[in-house]
């Protein structure tokens, strides 16, 4: 039960890798998944909860897109909308296209053909995403056979064993006969990953795949996920609130706040040159494991807004140290601030001057008090930090084109 190294699993999937690339119409350059102006509203007694407010993103093949945000920012609802798993009461508008096919408004039957095969999902809690009354082998076989009716039960059983081996479960061939309760949390999440990868999906959406696990087990699972991605060539949308996990495996990062993407960019741009005050504040509020300085953290004052009946203006304005009257008038669209880097703020050039050092913008503004008067923010200090390359575009060069879908492939 206690020896599982994911590296031993490499062999199991190689035959699967070829299947993924032999799909008809395979084109490495085409965007796998395009989400445009996605809006999700839930009617409640308190009014319409506008949980997702205009999410746009494009996922290209082989790419890992990290979606980060705090609880209630709409990251999970976005992915449930893509999978067509929202409750019937949800009002969804916009467009979700998988390889050009519109998924929104499809029947459940049609979606079933896409789910698992085209787009699959890994859920947060392995304790609840497996059915306790069926053997894990059966649950994997079920996924396989629902997309390939001609698969013999013997072949499905064999494949289930292979998949469990791929995710590093010891004695995989025997363990297919176990029930979920016979596995530990980390082992169960491996089973969930095996199910998600069973049909060689093009896209995998992982919603907080390691949040329920301990760090040493998280490290194992992240390694399994990465192996599974390289072996299958799948692209992944990784939803998490852990900025460390995203830093390790994402190629691009989308930062959500109050149901909207407020900044999208390459992983290094987001971490080293954030342009939206929220991103900057989020990074600044993290204590660092690798730093011995007893520097005070720079929290963001206040708390995230409720998404019921939101007032006009930028949703981050009440917490923002760079807040000015214009911020309360209209909600800013994302503007291009660099190569494939957009941010929803009218003062991105001032944020750029902080070069990722939150303390320069968020000094002492942070308490739980009612908002004080506008503290004059002194950003004039251009200290000797080398301008390590706010990529390409000088601060003045902001074009107010609303969130253009980025072209070109980073990878």
């Amino acid at each position: 039960m206690s020896t599982a190294v994911s590296s031993q699993s490499s062999g199991a999937l190689t035959q699967g890798g070829t299947r993924a690339t032999s799909l008809p119409g395979f084109d490495a350059a085409a965007p796998l998944l395009t989400v445009e102006d996605l809006n999700v509203r839930f009617p409640t007694e308190d009014g319409l909860v506008h949980a997702v407010r205009g999410v746009d993103y494009t996922l290209r093949s082989g790419e890992v897109l990290g979606i980060v945000g705090e609880s209630g920012s709409g990251k999970s609802v976005t992915s449930l909308a893509v999978m067509g798993l929202l409750p019937g009461s949800a009002r969804v508008s916009g467009s979700i296209r998988y390889r050009g096919q519109e998924l929104l408004g499809q029947s459940d039957r049609a979606m079933s053909r896409v789910r698992g095969k085209g787009v699959s999902m890994i859920f947060q809690d392995p304790m609840t995403s497996l059915d306790p009354v069926y053997r894990v082998g059966f649950q994997i076989e079920e996924t396989l056979r629902s997309h390939d009716r001609s698969l013999s039960s013997k072949a499905a059983q064999g494949r289930a064993g292979e998949l469990l081996e791929m995710v590093g479960i010891p004695n995989a061939r025997e363990r297919v006969r176990s029930y979920p309760h016979e596995f530990s949390g980390g082992m169960r999440q491996r089973v969930v990953i095996a199910i998600a990868m069973a049909n060689q999906p093009d896209v995998n959406i992982a919603d907080e795949p390691t949040t329920a696990l301990d760090v040493t087990v998280q490290a194992q699972i992240l390694e399994v996920l990465q192996t599974a991605l390289t072996e299958t060539g799948a692209a992944m949308v990784l939803i998490t609130h852990d900025l460390g996990v995203v830093a390790g495996i994402a190629d691009r990062v989308l930062v959500m706040y109050a149901g909207r993407p407020v900044e999208i960019g390459g992983v290094e741009d987001i971490y080293y040159e954030p342009r939206m005050p929220y991103t900057l504040g989020l990074l600044g509020s993290l204590p660092r494991l690798d730093s011995s300085t007893k520097q005070r953290l720079t929290p963001i004052k206040g708390s995230p807004p409720s998404v019921v009946n939101m007032p006009p203006g930028c949703p981050f304005a009440p917490r923002c140290p760079l807040h000015q009257p214009e911020c309360d008038v209209t909600e800013p669209d994302r503007v291009v601030v660099g190569h494939e880097h957009t941010a929803a703020c009218i003062r991105t050039d001032e944020v750029a001057r902080a070069h990722g050092e939150a303390a320069r913008v968020f000094d002492e503004t942070a308490t739980d008090d009612v908002l004080g008067s506008e503290a004059p923010v002194d950003l004039a200090e251009e200290t000797g930090v080398p301008d390590s390359g706010a990529p390409g575009v000088p601060p003045g060069d902001q074009t107010h084109t609303p969130a253009v879908p980025q072209d070109g492939d980073r990878r």
């Binding site: 490290a219 390694e223 953290l297 995230p304």
Partner: protein, 343 residues
């Protein structure tokens, strides 16, 4: 830093075993979950001691056993020279003025039917510290202000506050009796990062201003590094390494500490991608049936890859005591302790 002074809280051989009852008609005890199984620690005045470990290692149980909320089944807890283990509810009460706890979940630890004023005033009333209405009002007001909340809002109910604000209410309640020691049981892990930073800063300020000592229980090592003076690492009911903060993070000597530190992802893409990671296998064994000898040997990377057959024999038969093996203030429970840099 405070090694020469007398500890304010001294724990020796603390045990908390939960009986496992058999399934038959007559419930017999067939075994025990050894949640805390012989734990030693010292907390010095004015110090923050971080207690870290993965879920199920017994860190919360330790906190509760120290406070006698769940009576220990063995060992000793000496607080300000007085033995706590074995004291009854009544005898504990005067001691509770000096040692208080802040719980993890601010949604579960505040009574939803009481306004904030009553929640914060309750300890003062129970301990009979004030009978004067005006004085009570003044003290609650002061406490609420201390934790950075608006005193006008004390007539509101917990439901009207956000998670971070509720945790501040929990802290105000714990501070009401002017304790000397606070046991903080995962005080920020239920909070979002942008909120968490504010509560951590508050805890640091309070400690400096009021001269408190903290036993800071957490699983998030980044938070622990930030706030602690010394750090103790727990595994399966025991402390396996304890050292000054930077010493522990820069020069961990126990293979488990090394693996734990190496497993935590850093929010820095270049660094994170260039790190070498120690990945240990498997899961934490059941505390009902811990391995013989060293408890970590079943997952230990050193045991599996570096040690000779003869050296392994020692790991399997002899439980390594927590003692100084590299530098005097750095205690480690590994026969083959060796400082290694992993960050």
């Amino acid at each position: 830093m405070t090694a020469t002074r007398e500890p304010i809280l001294s724990v020796r051989g603390l045990e908390k075993h939960f009986p496992i009852k058999g399934g038959g008609l007559i419930k017999r005890t067939v075994g025990a979950v050894r949640a805390v199984d012989g734990l030693d620690l010292d907390l010095y005045p004015g110090e923050v001691l971080g207690l870290v470990g993965e879920s199920g290692c017994g860190k919360s149980t330790t906190g509760r056993a120290i406070l006698n909320l769940q009576p220990a089944t063995g060992g000793s807890v000496v607080f300000q020279g007085r033995e706590i283990v074995g004291l009854g509810r009544k005898e504990m009460r005067p001691l509770r003025r000096d040692i208080q706890i802040v719980f993890q979940d601010p949604y579960a630890s505040l009574n939803p039917r009481l306004p904030v004023f009553d929640i914060v005033a309750e300890p003062l009333i129970i301990h009979g510290l004030t009978t004067d209405e005006a004085e009570l009002r003044e003290r609650v007001r002061g406490l609420v202000e201390t934790v950075g909340l608006n005193p006008e809002h004390t007539n509101r109910y917990p439901a009207e506050f956000s998670g971070g604000q509720r945790q501040r209410i929990g802290i105000a309640r714990a501070l009401a009796l002017e304790p000397k020691v606070l046991v903080l049981d995962e005080p920020v892990s239920a909070l979002d990062v942008s909120i968490q930073a504010g509560v951590i800063n508050l805890l640091e300020d309070l400690k400096n201003r009021l001269g408190l000592s903290y036993l800071f229980i957490a699983h998030d090592l980044s938070v622990v590094r930030h706030i602690s003076d010394r750090v103790a690492v727990m595994y399966l009911g025991k402390i396996i390494e304890v050292a000054d903060r930077d010493d522990l993070f820069e020069r961990p000597t126990h293979p488990y500490t090394q693996a734990l530190l190496s497993a935590i992802p850093l929010p820095d893409p270049r660094l994170e991608r260039s790190r070498k990671r120690i990945i240990i296998t498997g899961d934490v064994p059941s505390p009902a049936n811990p391995p013989s000898g060293c408890r970590f040997r079943t997952r230990c990377q050193k045991f599996a890859r570096e040690l000779s057959e003869g050296q392994r024999e020692k790991c399997m038969t002899l439980e390594p005591p927590l003692e100084s093996r590299t530098t005097p203030s750095h205690l480690s429970a590994c026969h083959y302790a060796e400082a290694t840099r992993v960050l």
